[in-house]
């Protein structure tokens, strides 16, 4: 596959060499000579480039292998494959953050509210599932394909349904923008693979799949996604909440609550370690709120969420 890419790149290089930048409009003898000289020099450059490309470990070869990886890695991954990656990560999510909280009303609540929001997200046509896990850490994360985890600790911290809506919409936004998938686009497992099958997970490929899920855990549980993706998810969440009918101010309120708890909370594996600095996020979401001049007319639903919270253990 890589050699295929090398050939394509070499072809592009040759085509570019054929279109000499000094090509004349007016064909005089001097200019023709100049064109011939220039074309000969282009051919030499291309020949040199091809030599460099075939040389193992050369700078040019590494560069073009990188481009090849990018082209292959950005190939569309089908939904079943995305889902399998997400399900495998979800299994690790339970191991890391704990089992689902035994409260059917709460689990139903996040699933119905989350689905209502997902309907108005930028990717409404896939099934989303939401689960509150028994962890005191203040955290939420989403697996590719639509499985979304929220910690019990975060649910306890929040005060209104609009706040919960903004957090769930933030996680839906990561799924709909395929942020986690973008973070693993260069994984060896995905090179030349557009679809995962059980047979394709045998032997070395199986090991590569495990490594890819391991890398995803590092990104989502410890290191965090790219800051640009987090800001994008915040803005997207506020829009989705607003479109559904909730106040986008809920996003800012959650960030402020987190800020108030930052000093006393455990950082490892929480939103504090996996998300950008809260001051910066608050600043950006405040600017975002200005897009919704009638946000005060939107639902906050303090009472409905407080009624649900009374059944929390």
């Amino acid at each position: 596959m890589k050699y295929g890419c090398l050939l394509i790149v070499a072809f592009i290089a040759l085509s570019a060499g054929g279109r000499c930048p000094a090509a004349p409009v007016d064909r005089t003898g001097t200019q023709e000579a100049s064109v011939e000289k220039s074309a000969a020099s282009s051919e030499l450059r291309v020949a040199g480039l091809l030599d460099a490309l075939t040389k193992e470990g050369s700078k040019e070869r590494k560069l073009f292998e990188g481009i090849g990886s990018l082209v292959e890695g950005s190939m569309e991954i089908d939904y079943d494959t995305e889902r399998t990656i997400g399900e495998s990560l979800a299994l690790e999510g339970f191991a890391r953050y704990g089992m689902p909280v035994d409260n059917p009303d709460l689990q139903e609540y996040v699933n119905v509210l989350g689905t209502a929001l997902a309907d108005n997200s930028i990717r409404p046509g896939i099934p989303y599932r939401f689960v509150v896990v028994d962890s005191d850490l203040l955290n939420a994360f989403s697996c590719p394909g639509g499985i979304i985890f929220i910690s019990y600790g975060l649910m306890k911290m929040m005060q209104t349904e609009a706040q919960v809506a903004n957090v769930l919409a933030h996680e839906v936004a990561h799924v709909s923008h395929k942020h986690a998938l973008q973070s693993i686009r260069r994984a060896r497992f995905l090179q030349g693979v557009g679809k995962v099958t059980a047979a394709a997970m045998e032997g070395e490929k199986g090991q590569q799949f495990e490594n890819m899920i391991g890398d995803l855990q590092t990104v989502l549980f410890d290191k965090g996604l790219d800051q640009r993706m987090e800001f994008e998810a915040d803005a997207s969440a506020m829009e989705t909440a607003y479109r559904t009918g909730y106040g986008p101010n809920g996003m800012i309120e959650v960030l402020r609550s987190l800020k108030a708890r930052e000093d006393k909370s455990e950082k490892s594996g929480s939103w504090f370690s996996t998300h950008p600095p809260l001051d910066k996020r608050i600043e950006k979401t405040m600017a975002e709120l200005a897009k919704y001049p009638d946000w005060k007319q939107q639902s906050q639903l303090l009472d409905r969420y407080q009624a649900l919270k009374r059944k929390f253990k």
């Binding site: 089992m99 689905t115 309907d119 639902s299």
Partner: protein, 170 residues
Amino acid sequence: MKPRNLAWMIPLFLVCWLSSAVAQETMYVTSEGTKLKEDKKASSKTVVGLPLGAELSVMEKDDKWYRVKTSEGQKGWVYRGRVSDTPPSAEVKREGADLFAALGGSGIKADEADTARSMRGLSKETEKYASMKETPEKYRKALDQVLAVKVTQQEVTSFLRDGKVGEYAE
């Protein structure tokens, strides 16, 4: 400038005014479960269910509701949060079409559908991963239960209506 010198501008004004009155804004359905309503309230009768990407001509805007015409000529009201001036991507439309078909392809049937958003259990490939990693059975069961949750359009509608959220606000 004398008034008669401005006379030539009158037809120009007329042309501009007429073209702005005739030009209709085009919007696209961007939310799942969107319904065209007879009146500008969620409790009014549903004219038809609208699939993702459906093109609508906006005839009138009244606060949070838009009076629109579908490409088939059906007229009614749609909530502003369910449309956008940018169409959804081809992939999103394709995924939505699958769900729309599962719901019966109509907003009315969608209300009664209980197959909405149903999801199989762990995929064969995830099972394979769990075997390779020797994932404890309790985590597999937990994930199976999460995937087995069903949310119907009716539940979503009741939830938003009970909370008077968005198009159900009074």
